[in-house]
């Protein structure tokens, strides 16, 4: 400021007056500075978050929540994450072993042949958050209501639901696929049961019988849940509540965690290094059933063949794509290198094909020559994007690896919401390098890609009679061992005929603040599945 008066050399006759003006302006700046500093000082004293015993879970609601707690209106799979803590489901399941677990139903009995029925026995000690007792009529009403949601097609096989007595329900199916329906009732949204008293208000004020009751939802900001002391599985949760707090996916979530604004986040792989290098933060890396995949179109809907119609070309892709390198770079070696659509822990995993296609570019080149393509070929490879780092990295690596055998992949990014239309329906590419979401009932990991009448199979020209037959047997069976046998056979078939290039199963990552969060808990099995927080403790 001193320089102003020293440097004031213009219009010397007005020197004094100008200094007076400048002095007033300086005064204004000083006042603003004082206000600003004062403000910050106030904040410094009072800006801390008391936290309490609630878990502040950073979650990208703007991208992953469709503003309703009513399953019948829900438009997104990821709505299930907050809903899972509010509602109990008819059944539960172990995502790793695939085993069905009791939840609201303690027993399930399958009967019948071509059209099966399922008799469910319900717990008699469950009350909703509003004090209403759960009974068979409430469960029937809940399932019927959920079935109104077009997106929940897994409930379509239900023909009728009969209330036998207050704790017994009988579901009559239109077909013989009872096991898929049981898994559907254990799936995130389909099997969630609301209180009969909240039918008209569930979208905004849900009442369930889950471990946490709904307190408040502020669109774009957060969801507040409070522990429900009347939860039927008492003492499972040892903290007071969950505050879902809006944070953007990726760096904004990590920043919020580092700043102490949230206690826990779902982190992206690229944030893991930053979490691991921060001594105040911890991470949970959870194996998942979702996997990186190079999916090949066999034919277009208009009858045109893609280069991958030839089995030898598909096999060449399996030999040419270095799955270990992709796992190392894209998944930072945290993923499980894949040899088939199911991970090692799945009952449907077929160990005999674990090393069926070692990385072997020479063999890939020989197969191309055998297929009449000694100089390679060019094709269009769709990837999700632009702007999705792991997908872009994977696409780039595949492009580089295929170039070594003379195959040119032209990368075309497609926005996530347009994949169904642009890639599948409009035929926007010969192959799709992406991530395949985890399947709840493990046979559907195969059936949904190559089974008859399945969306992906139809548009990829990949409906396969052998797979369809095996899957019909698997889906119609009540015997877990038998189901696993059929799925293993199907997995073998996908490998022998190189129907895809499975690359690596993708871990899901949770980052947390060590000063606030302790205990043991698991991460998400899939991006839209809620983490199991039952062993979590707040410090």
């Amino acid at each position: 400021m001193r320089e102003l008066s020293q440097g004031a050399r213009i219009r010397g006759d007005d020197m004094t007056s100008l200094n007076s003006v400048a002095s007033r302006i300086r005064g204004s700046v000083a006042i603003v500075a004082v206000i600003a500093v004062g403000g910050l000082a106030t904040v410094a004293c009072g800006g801390g978050d008391s936290g309490g015993t609630s878990l502040r879970y950073g979650y990208d609601m703007s991208a992953q929540f469709t503003n309703t707690f009513d399953v019948a209106e829900s438009k997104g799979d990821c709505d299930a994450v907050p809903m899972s803590y509010i509602y109990s489901s008819v059944l539960g399941y172990d995502p790793i072993s695939g085993e069905l677990l009791p939840e609201l139903a303690t027993e399930w009995v399958i009967e019948g042949g071509a059209k099966k029925s399922i008799t469910l026995t319900l717990r008699d000690d469950v009350t909703f958050h509003d004090g209403t007792k759960l009974d068979a009529a409430a469960v029937k009403q809940g399932i019927d209501r959920n079935n109104k949601n077009d997106q929940l097609s897994g409930l379509d096989p239900i023909q009728t639901i009969e209330v036998v007595n207050p704790t017994t329900l009988k579901i009559q199916l239109k077909n013989n696929q009872a096991m898929p329906l049981l898994y559907t009732l254990a799936d995130a949204r389909d099997g969630m049961i609301m209180s009969p008293s909240s039918v008209d208000t569930a979208a905004e004020r849900p009442i369930g019988s889950g471990p946490f009751k709904f307190i408040e939802y502020k669109p774009g900001q957060g969801i507040t849940l409070e522990r429900y002391d009347g939860y039927w599985e008492k003492d499972t949760y040892d903290f007071g509540g969950i505050e879902f707090t809006q944070v953007g996916t990726g760096p904004p979530a990590l920043t919020a965690l580092k700043a102490g604004s949230v206690d826990m986040i779902r982190a992206e792989m690229e944030s893991l290094e930053a979490i691991e290098s921060d001594e105040n933060l911890g991470s949970v890396v959870q194996p998942s059933g979702a996997y990186l995949q190079f999916q090949m179109r066999e034919a277009y809907k208009d009858g045109r063949k893609s280069p991958f119609a030839d089995e030898r070309v598909r096999k060449a892709m399996r030999y040419a794509i270095n799955t270990e390198e992709i796992n190392r770079i894209v998944e930072r070696e945290k993923g499980e290198v894949a040899s088939q659509p199911l991970p090692k822990d799945s009952p449907g995993y077929n160990a005999s094909i674990a090393n069926a296609y070692p990385f072997d570019p020479a063999k890939a080149k020989a197969l191309l020559t055998e297929a009449g393509l000694p100089n390679g070929f060019e094709f269009t490879m769709a990837i999700p994007g632009p702007g999705i780092k792991n997908m872009a990295d994977q696409g780039q690596l595949i492009q580089d690896q295929l170039k070594k055998i003379g195959v040119t992949a032209k990368i075309v990014p497609i926005l996530g919401q347009d994949i169904a239309t642009q890639y599948y329906i409009e035929g926007g590419g010969d192959a799709f390098a992406a991530a395949r979401l985890a399947s709840m009932f493990y046979p559907t990991a195969i059936d949904s890609q190559w089974g008859k009448y399945e969306f992906v199979a139809i548009w990829n020209g990949a409906e396969n009679a052998v797979i369809t037959d095996l899957m019909n047997k698997a889906l119609g069976s009540n015997d877990q061992a038998e189901i696993a046998g059929f799925v293993q056979q199907a997995a073998l078939y996908t490998s022998e005929h190189a129907l895809e290039v499975p690359i690596a199963f993708m871990p899901q990552i949770i980052g947390f603040d060590k000063a606030r969060v302790g205990g043991t808990f698991t991460g998400q099995y899939d991006i839209c599945k809620a983490p199991d927080l039952s062993g979590l403790k707040m410090k």
Binding site: I10, S20, V21, D49, S62, A256, D418
Partner: protein, 315 residues
């Protein structure tokens, strides 16, 4: 003055109509079929897609769709989001106060920093303080607001933990928490604006100080404070007022990256999510609102022009 305002208001009607045609027309160019997405994407059945198409009026002609949309928009009904179960109008009603809070604070920072800096530099061009202000404002202009936001978050939220890194608390809930959550966005958004404003004020003031009427004012023996503040600054403020008007409209439109960094549930975040999802009703609604804001603020700027410079309204 009244006639001038009425004439300008009348001009906004065809302008808004034109904007509505452009907004609707551009949204039709977006690739992809939202009916497939709404019907469940890869789980969609042909019947479900058809049902979704009917519900969304996508089975009607483009002109009919425009008519339905415009009819609703005139009544304040901007339709319902394809994806999030809320009407666009309700969502804007919830989110606009957030963006308004950010914009008001940011424009305050812009003015209280930019105007004095421009004045200090403008009254003494070529001086050391002028060079400092010019350098600072150039630097401020060169700094992207999102980068500044990240630096501020790192310093004040992550390292010092003085301020929250994310979130928003409504003013009605807690004025102090409202301000605490907005200090960083205000500064991040206000500083680049202040830099631009300072340069505008400086340049305009230097020009004004060289005019004959300033010499006359001095000759009359008016004190310098009055010469600068009443005569020079009033005339010099026309160009800065335009800059401020545009800046404020831009801020009210929502700043996508800043709202994402600070997890503010404002218009920018809403628009960004809609763009990713190709949520046409939301895109159309937000763009139309933004256009309306620009039109209204331009009108206000023009009225202010007319006040500052009577030749404008006479013309």
């Amino acid at each position: 003055m009244g006639t001038y305002i009425v004439r300008r208001l009348a001009l906004t009607v065809p302008l808004l109509l034109l904007v509505s045609v452009i907004v609707f027309g551009l949204s039709q160019l977006i690739q992809g079929d939202p009916a497939v997405v709404v019907a469940g994407g890869q789980q969609a059945t042909p019947a479900g897609i058809e049902r979704a198409r009917e519900e969304m009026h996508l089975d009607r002609s483009t002109a009919a769709q425009y008519g339905i949309w415009l009819g609703g928009a005139v009544r304040g009904d901007l339709g319902e989001s394809f994806y999030n179960n809320r009407t666009v109008a309700a969502e804007i009603f919830t989110r606009f106060p957030v963006t308004l809070s950010v914009a008001l604070g940011a424009i305050f920072v812009t003015i209280v920093l930019g105007v004095p800096m421009g004045l200090i530099a403008g009254v003494r061009p070529g001086s050391k303080i002028d060079r400092i202000v010019t350098f600072s404002s150039s630097t401020g202009l060169a700094i992207p607001d999102f980068w500044l936001a990240m630096v501020l978050v790192t310093i004040f939220a992550v390292n010092l933990q003085w301020l929250p890194a994310i979130g928003y608390v409504p003013f009605t809930e807690s004025p102090s928490e409202w301000a605490n959550h907005l200090y960083l966005p205000w500064i991040a958004m206000g500083i680049p604006g202040a830099a631009g404003l300072a340069r505008q004020v400086r340049g305009a003031l230097i020009d004004a100080m060289e005019q004959d009427y300033i010499r006359t004012a001095r000759a009359k023996g008016l004190p310098s404070r009055m010469v600068v503040m009443k005569h020079a600054f009033k005339n010099a403020s026309i160009a800065p007022v335009t800059v401020l008007g545009i800046s404020f409209a831009y801020m009210l439109g929502g700043t996508v990256i800043l709202e994402t960094i600070f997890s503010l549930p404002g218009m920018g975040q809403y628009f960004y999510t809609a763009l990713i999802n190709k949520d046409l009703p939301v895109i159309q609604g937000v763009v139309l609102l933004t256009a309306l804001i620009f039109v209204v603020l331009n009108l206000l700027v023009d009225v202010l022009y007319a006040y500052l410079n009577p030749k404008v309204r006479l013309g």
